[in-house]
Each structure stands twice: as structure tokens, then as C-alpha cells.
């Protein structure tokens, strides 16, 4: 576009040859390399790139929020024709008023000691001192309603910690829009949210965009989300803009090799010809682990007195030998509490967990220790789960010492053998885990779990801290180990695409209950529970969706596990709910072929 358009005010934001460098120890590193693009009023432009591509630096530069060692070393940012780089004072006056910013961490974005409403008012009056307090309040409440926060008048007077993550992100959207900005920079705003909540936020953003005609720069690391959200997608790679297209064109005909690779690598949910060769067909006979009617609650106390958090309410599934069993659900659905029950770290309040016919929930501590040789756990956090002061060798040998297995030399040999198996170089034996990458740490964690030659490995979000490439490598490792040792895996995860790739059977959890258990194919092509459909409809994918979010999910948040409504827990978000769902809790019923679902529609 020509410069004349800029001067005529046609273009809202015009970035030309923007270069940002980081200066450390006298050396300068180029983070953004001659970036140029234009943004029209009320346009949504997605910026996508892997971590380190400079997305966040771009967002911060536009919001005048660069801090040392980052520095703009060249180029210009014209906002309505006026340059922000040469006039930092003007740029500063725009921030929060004309250029609003929403970050990816809504939990810590507001002062925890002040009510959300007071802070919205404070912010509006900071950038528009001419607005009276009561006008500001009315506007905040109106916007809280516009972003569909229920009971907005009451919520206005609540504190940030009383909001859930999704609510808080809505409040931050209000915070950004309250000054009627012309440009909204949304930096990774859906990343920490659950898929169904993220889908709702995206929908909301589009609605607000057409209602308030705010231009949006949507920065994100997931291509499907970016394509969903925007009119156009700009791909950033190594600090450079490598291409810019409308989403459909980008997916069909990517120009740059980086984009091509990105699209090719993207796992699919429904594409035909899924590679079945790798997965071992589970032997459906005696289950290796059988969970029935398991429940666990925790007591908490707060200002309103004692309360019961029903973390796990009614979980039921069988895991067969050689299975890759997946447990999926969003945060707060009781996945991690269930993991603690399955591994015998805590005992269930009700129900049975049978491991090879023996009840883990009632085993004596001594027996439990013996049983644990056969089922091991690999945790989510690659950093917190390894002792920083022990060498890699002694980390691996510790389980053997605990279970009094082998002599010193035998343990040493065993540890080295395991290191080779999980792909850690032999010379790491005496090193501390400090220098390991996240992927290597998870390999070490897997090695530590498998050194006891267990039969069942429970993976609690083991891959969620890793990037896509690293995830792929570890999944290959898991598959190889399974072929060699005949492991059975339980994958606890929130990531549907991962589960789709590796699991043979999947349990879907919602608010502490298993609402559906089905084989992989069946769950993705013929889900038996509306929540499974909602989850599938919200999963980020470039494919043509089998289930559309509009039809599968109602506006709203999951109820609190402290204050559960009677009837089906999903009823308040379910488009198919009828009277009976509000009164009666549906039971898990068989749909044939070891598939279960808890919904009255199946009766």
C-alpha cells in the first residue's frame, strides 16, 4: 500500500522496516528484522510463529513496552500517520487509551487486593480523566455484560481471585476495550485457557470486533487458532515476516518453506488413513487396571466456612494389557486427583481401583510399595520433578536402591542401559540434570520410571511442557519401549490431538466424572456424550470440523466442584439438556464394545 494512504488516515497502523535488537555483553542480537506491515481499522490480523520468532517482542514494541536490553534500532511505526518511534511521549500517551494490550497471563494481571470493578474504573479514569466515576462504573458494567460475564453488577465488586481463568481473561478484554481503543494487541490470550473456554473467548473477540470496530493484532503460536481468529495471518520466522495471506489461502497454498513445514507437521484429528501400524492391539481380556465408582473429596475452609470439594466423583474404566489409555479433560476436571488415587498416593473415599486384581486403595503401605514396582508415574513438570543436586546416574539408580535390587555394579550397568534406551548419551551419567533440556529431562523421568521394569506407566501431562517436535520424538520413544517391553500406558492429558495420535482407548472426564469411555475411532467419529462433542468442536485444528462450536457448546463456565448442581454436571452448557438432566444424574451405560457414556440421550 502506498504512503499516501497512511497520510490520508486509511491505514490505522503502518509498520516499516522495524528492527529491534537485544544488546547483551556488548554484542547485539537482532530480534526483529526489518518488519513491515499495515493494519486497517477494524481488521483482525494474526501473527504466528514459534517461540523465539519475535512475536511477543513485536507486541511489546507496538505497545511501547520494551525494556532493556531490547531496543528499537531502526524503522518506523506510524499510528494514524504519526510516528511512535520518533515521538515516545506520544506513544506513551496512546498506551492503554488508543492502543490496548492483553497478555497471556490473566491470573496475575490485576492487583489482587482491589476489586476488579475498581481497577476497571481506575484504568479508564487514568487515560480519560474527564469521565466521571459513575459513568466509568456504568461503562465497565455494560462491557462486563458485553463479554458475557454472568451477574455483571455483582461481579464488578468481586476480587480477581474470585474469577476463574476464563472470566479473568474476559475482564482483561473489558479492561482493554473500556477506553474505546482503535487497536487491540492480544498477545497469546488463549494459551493458558482450556480449549472450550478458549473457543468461547475467540468467538467473543470476533463479536466485539464487529461491534466496536477495533482493529486486533492477534498474536499466537498455534496455527489453527490463528486461522480461526483472523481475517489475515502473518507468519513470523526468525524475526522476519515470511508471508501474509488470508487463512484459507495460507493453508491451501503456503508460500514459504517454514509455513509449509508447519502445516505438514500439524497433527490431524479426523483425516483419513490414520497410521494404525504402530499401535499394539490391546488384548481385551482381563484388565490390568480396573477402576470402579472411585470418588475423592477434599475439605477446604474459607471465609464462608467449611466446604467440600468433590474432586473425583464417579470414575469408571478398565485398562487392558497393551492399551494406550487416554484420560482427557479440562483443568479442574479431577485428572490430577485421579492420578494420585491410581498411584496409591492417596486413598479413595469410595470405589475400587484394582491393579491386576488387587485393590490399590486398600493395600497396606508395605504392599503398596511392592505394587509400585509394577506401576510407575511420570510427571508433568520436567524441572520440578528432578532433584537438582543429584547426578543423572544416581537419580536413575535411586528406585533400585529403594527396592533393594542388585549390587552397586549391577545398578550402575542397569542405569547405563536405561540411559541408552531412552536416548541419553552415556557421558551424562555423572552430570547433574541442570544442563538438560526439557525433552531430555522427560526422557530421564521416563527412564527413572521404567528402571524397575513396571508393567503400567502412568503419564500425567508428561508431554505438555514440550514443543511439537520434541513431543513427536518422545512419542516415538514410548512406542518403541512399548514394543520392546510390553508396557501399558495411561496418558493423562488435556491435549486432544496428542491423545488422538497415540491412544487406543480414551476416557473423557468432566467435573470429576468419567462421562464417556470409548475407543479412539469411536470417540472422534461417534462421541456418545455432548461434552465429548463440545471438546472436539473446540479442539484447535485446520481440518473441516465434524462438530461446530456453535452447535455443541453453550456460553458459560463449568460449575464449581464445591457447589455442584443436582443432575448432570454438564447440563448448564449442554445444547441438548432437557428437564430430566437438571434433576437426575445420568449413569454410565454401555454402548457396546467396551464403550460407555453417561447421557440420557443414549437410552
Amino acid at each position: 500500500m502506498a504512503r499516501d494512504d497512511v497520510l490520508a488516515g486509511q491505514i490505522l497502523l503502518s509498520v516499516r522496516d522495524l528492527t529491534v535488537q537485544a544488546e547483551e555483553d556488548g554484542k547485539s542480537r537482532t530480534i526483529l528484522d526489518r518488519i513491515s506491515f499495515d493494519l486497517n481499522p477494524s481488521q483482525i490480523l494474526s501473527v504466528i510463529g514459534e517461540s523465539g520468532s519475535g512475536k511477543t517482542v513485536l507486541a511489546r514494541t507496538l505497545a511501547s513496552w520494551l525494556s532493556v536490553p531490547l531496543r528499537v534500532t531502526g524503522g518506523a511505526i506510524h499510528f494514524r500517520g504519526e510516528d511512535l518511534i520518533s515521538n515516545p511521549k506520544f506513544a506513551k500517551s496512546l498506551s492503554g487509551r488508543e492502543i490496548a494490550y492483553i497478555g497471556g497471563n490473566p491470573a496475575g494481571a490485576l492487583d489482587p487486593t482491589m476489586t476488579v470493578g475498581a481497577q476497571l474504573v481506575e484504568k479508564l479514569r487514568a487515560v480519560r480523566p474527564d469521565i466521571s466515576k459513575s459513568d466509568a462504573r456504568d461503562k465497565a458494567i455494560a462491557l462486563l455484560k458485553a463479554v458475557k460475564i454472568p451477574a455483571a453488577e455483582r461481579r464488578f465488586y468481586e476480587y480477581p481471585f474470585q474469577y476463574s481463568g476464563g472470566m479473568m481473561q474476559r475482564a482483561m478484554i473489558v479492561d482493554a476495550l473500556i477506553s474505546d481503543p482503535a487497536l487491540l494487541i492480544a498477545d497469546n490470550i488463549t494459551q493458558p485457557l482450556d480449549v472450550t473456554v478458549a473457543a468461547q473467548i475467540l468467538k467473543l473477540l470476533r463479536e466485539l470486533n464487529s461491534e466496536f470496530s477495533t482493529a486486533i493484532l492477534f498474536i499466537c503460536s498455534s496455527l489453527p487458532v490463528a486461522c480461526d481468529a483472523a481475517d489475515e495471518v502473518m507468519v513470523l520466522h526468525d524475526g522476519r515476516v515470511v508471508e501474509r495471506q488470508v487463512p484459507a489461502a495460507l493453508v491451501d497454498a503456503p508460500q514459504h518453506s517454514y509455513t509449509k513445514g508447519l502445516i505438514k507437521e500439524l497433527p490431524t484429528l479426523w483425516a483419513e488413513g490414520k497410521d494404525e501400524s504402530g499401535t499394539v492391539k490391546p488384548d481385551v481380556g482381563q484388565p490390568i487396571m480396573s477402576v470402579h465408582g472411585v470418588a475423592k473429596h477434599y475439605e477446604t475452609h474459607g471465609k464462608s466456612g467449611w466446604a467440600l470439594v468433590q474432586a473425583v466423583r464417579n470414575v469408571q474404566f478398565d485398562v487392558f494389557r497393551g492399551d494406550n489409555f487416554g484420560i482427557v479433560g479440562e483443568s479442574g476436571c479431577g485428572k490430577s486427583s485421579l492420578m494420585r488415587l491410581l498411584t496409591g498416593l492417596e486413598r479413595p473415599d469410595a470405589g475400587t481401583i484394582l491393579f491386576q486384581g488387587e485393590n490399590v486403595g486398600e493395600a497396606s503401605p508395605k504392599r503398596l510399595r511392592q505394587l509400585r514396582r509394577k506401576f510407575q508415574l511420570v510427571l508433568q513438570d520436567p524441572y520440578g520433578s528432578l532433584p537438582p543436586q543429584s547426578s543423572i546416574g544416581s537419580i536413575l539408580e535411586e528406585p533400585l536402591i529403594i527396592h533393594k535390587i542388585g549390587s552397586r555394579a549391577e545398578r550402575r550397568d542397569k542405569a547405563r542401559a536405561i540411559m541408552a534406551e531412552v536416548g541419553l548419551p552415556d557421558n551424562f551419567y555423572d552430570r547433574l540434570p541442570t544442563g538438560l533440556s526439557a525433552g531430555q529431562r522427560q526422557r530421564l523421568n521416563v527412564g527413572r520410571a521404567m528402571i524397575l521394569e513396571p508393567e503400567l506407566l502412568i503419564m500425567d501431562e508428561t508431554l505438555s511442557a514440550l514443543d511439537q517436535t520434541e513431543q513427536g520424538k518422545l512419542l516415538e520413544l514410548f512406542q518403541r519401549l512399548q514394543e520392546e517391553h510390553g508396557f501399558t500406558y495411561i496418558f493423562i492429558s488435556h491435549d486432544l490431538t496428542m491423545v488422538r495420535q497415540v491412544c487406543s482407548r480414551i476416557a473423557v472426564m468432566y467435573l470429576g466424572e468419567t462421562v464417556e469411555v470409548a475407543s479412539n475411532e469411536r470417540l472422534f467419529f461417534d462421541p456418545g456424550h455432548p461434552y465429548s462433542r463440545a471438546l472436539l468442536s473446540a479442539a484447535p485444528t485446520l481440518e473441516k470440523r465434524r462438530y461446530s462450536p456453535e452447535k455443541c457448546l453453550l456460553e458459560g463456565e463449568p460449575p464449581s466442584p464445591i457447589d455442584l448442581p443436582p443432575g448432570c454436571a454438564f447440563a448448564n452448557r449442554c445444547p441438548h439438556a432437557f428437564d430430566r438432566c437438571m434433576a437426575e444424574t445420568p449413569k454410565l451405560l454401555s454402548r457396546g464394545d467396551h464403550a460407555l457414556a453417561a447421557c440420557f440421550l443414549n437410552e
Binding site: Y101, L110, D111, P112, A126, S179
Partner: protein, 326 residues
């Protein structure tokens, strides 16, 4: 209602704590060697008379009976009578067992009630001095971690904390009262007599406040909501005064509660040096005279004060940060 439930629960807990403290003090005082009657009646009193007085005061009853009787009085607000101090306020007696004034011994409650306001005045004033010195230094240090205000805060607290209070008291008295004749030092004849001891105490407390503030302000300034506030359009003054300071106030509040309790209960050395007629001096004398009822009374009153201060601090903390839950 949260506040009512909170108060009921905390006051009940407090009553239990005070009861336990009383029981402990009461028992300990009675098992240590030394007969208080001997001290009261004087070394010259015949053994029979001592025994008679002891019987009459119930000091030969089993300890639990004495304790029950004592606590019965405490509940009605009667802390008993001093063993050695006469009600007319005359000098410490006890040498002459047939002294007629001995019959009317001073009420412990009165003795404490006379001195507590003095100590309270001293404690409050030193608290104010300490805050005036420490808050600006601490906040500046917290806003510029690693820079000169931070270093100044560190050096100044190191210097303050290494000055022994008795030495500082004597030096200041010499400097400000004797040489410059600015302030009175010894005894109490008016408000001015509080300033010098308060100053000494403030220097003692200030380093704790400075340290707590630099750490908590620096900590809060590093948090996400402060970082993002500028991008939201808030001014630096708004960020510091409305958000950063409020959020760093909780650790300070807890510290002030502890410090204030300590000031109430035990500014022994300072009150002794400046001959300040407060609770500290009363305690020293009571201990030296083996005045059991007075020691007990002081212990109960300070324990109750600790409990109340803690309740107030926690209540303030919940008012500042609604997430807290006591």
C-alpha cells in the same frame, strides 16, 4: 457474618492462651525456691509469724487450689494484691513486719493501670519515629533494587542494628540532654520525657522495617500486574502509591504487630536506663522483689495485649488483602 465469627473464634482462642500462660507462670513462680513471705515480713520476723501470715494468705494450700482461687479473682477483674507494695505508694517496704501500712497492700490492677498508659505512649511514639525513619528509606530501596537507595537502606540498617540500645541511650542522653540541653532524660514529668527513650527504641526497630519493606516492595514491583499496569495506561504514581505500597503492606503489618507487642511487654532496659515509669520498670522491680501477684498480673495483661494486637493485625491484613483467611 465473617467478622463476628472471626472475633468470637479468635477471642476464645485468646482466652485459652491467656489461661495457659497464667497457669504456667503461676506454677513456675511457686516451684522456684525462696519464700515470698520471708521477703514481705522481713528477715527479722519470727518463724511463727511467717507461718501465720502464709496460712492466712493461703500460700500453704496446694498449688491448684491457690490457682483456682486466683483465677476466680482474675475473671472478676481482681488480679490480687501486691505482696510488698503498700497502697499509699510509699517506698518499697517489708523490712518492718509490724508496719501498720502493710495491712493495706496495693492492688495489682491499680499498679498496672498506672504504668500501662506510660508504656503505651512510649511504644506508640517510638513506632511513629521508626516508621518516619524507615518507610521512605525502605520504599526507595525497594523501588530501585541494586541501586544506591537499596544500598543506602542496607548500610543504614546494618549500622542501626549494630548499635546496642543501652549504649545509644546513654550517648543520646549525654548529647541531647547534658550537652545540648534539648530534651529531658531521666524520670517523667511530662510528654517531653518520652521523646529520648522513644528515639532510642525507634533506631532499634527501624532496621527491621527497612529490611521488610525493601524486600516486599521489590517483590511486588516485580509482579505481573505492576508490570502490565503501565501498558494499561496507569501513571507511575498510581502504580506505586495505589498498588505497590498496598500490596507490600502485609509483611510490614505483621512485623509491626510483633514489634509493638515486644515494645509493650519488654522495653525493660530502656525504661530502666531512663528511669521511665512504665510497665518495664514495674516488671524489673516486681521480679527483684519476688512480688508474685504483680509478676502474674503483668504476665496476664501482656499476654492479653499480645492476643488483642494479633487479632487487630490479622483483621487489618484481611481488610488490605481479601485473599487472606485467618
Amino acid at each position: 457474618m465473617f467478622i463476628v465469627r472471626f472475633l468470637i473464634r479468635r477471642l476464645l482462642q485468646g482466652a485459652l492462651i491467656v489461661f495457659l500462660v497464667s497457669a504456667l507462670i503461676f506454677t513456675l513462680l511457686r516451684v522456684v525456691p525462696g519464700d515470698p513471705v520471708r521477703l514481705m515480713a522481713g528477715g527479722m520476723a519470727p518463724e511463727a509469724l511467717i507461718e501465720e501470715i502464709a496460712q492466712e494468705m493461703g500460700l500453704r494450700d496446694p498449688i491448684y487450689q491457690q490457682f483456682a482461687r486466683y483465677m476466680g479473682g482474675v475473671i472478676q477483674g481482681d488480679l490480687g494484691q501486691s505482696f510488698v507494695r503498700p497502697a499509699n505508694g510509699a517506698a518499697v517496704g517489708g523490712a518492718s513486719f509490724d508496719d501498720s501500712t502493710r495491712a493495706a497492700r496495693a492492688e495489682v490492677w491499680d499498679l498496672i493501670a498506672q504504668t500501662v498508659p506510660m508504656t503505651l505512649q512510649l511504644a506508640l511514639l517510638s513506632m511513629i519515629f521508626a516508621l518516619v525513619i524507615a518507610v521512605p528509606i525502605g520504599v526507595m530501596g525497594g523501588l530501585r533494587p541494586g541501586k544506591w537507595p537499596d544500598r543506602l537502606a542496607l548500610y543504614l540498617s546494618s549500622v542501626f542494628i549494630s548499635l546496642p540500645n543501652f549504649w545509644l541511650g546513654i550517648v543520646l542522653a549525654l548529647l541531647l540532654s547534658v550537652k545540648l540541653n534539648l530534651l529531658p532524660a531521666i524520670g517523667y514529668e511530662g510528654f517531653a520525657y518520652t521523646i529520648l527513650p522513644a528515639l532510642v527504641l525507634a533506631v532499634e526497630i527501624a532496621p527491621f522495617i527497612i529490611r521488610t519493606l525493601t524486600v516486599s516492595v521489590a517483590n511486588v514491583m516485580g509482579q505481573n500486574f505492576i508490570d502490565i499496569a503501565a501498558v494499561r495506561g496507569l501513571t507511575r504514581n498510581q502504580i506505586i502509591f495505589r498498588h505497590a505500597l498496598k500490596n507490600s503492606a502485609i509483611p510490614l503489618l505483621n512485623l509491626l504487630g510483633v514489634q509493638f507487642s515486644m515494645l509493650l511487654g519488654g522495653v525493660l532496659v530502656i525504661e530502666f536506663i531512663f528511669d521511665y515509669p512504665g510497665l518495664g520498670r514495674l516488671t524489673i522491680n516486681a521480679v527483684m522483689q519476688r512480688d508474685f501477684p504483680l509478676i502474674q498480673g503483668i504476665a496476664i495483661v501482656t499476654a492479653a495485649a499480645f492476643v488483642l494486637i494479633n487479632i487487630v493485625v490479622d483483621l487489618c491484613a484481611t481488610a488490605i488483602d481479601p485473599r487472606l483467611d485467618y
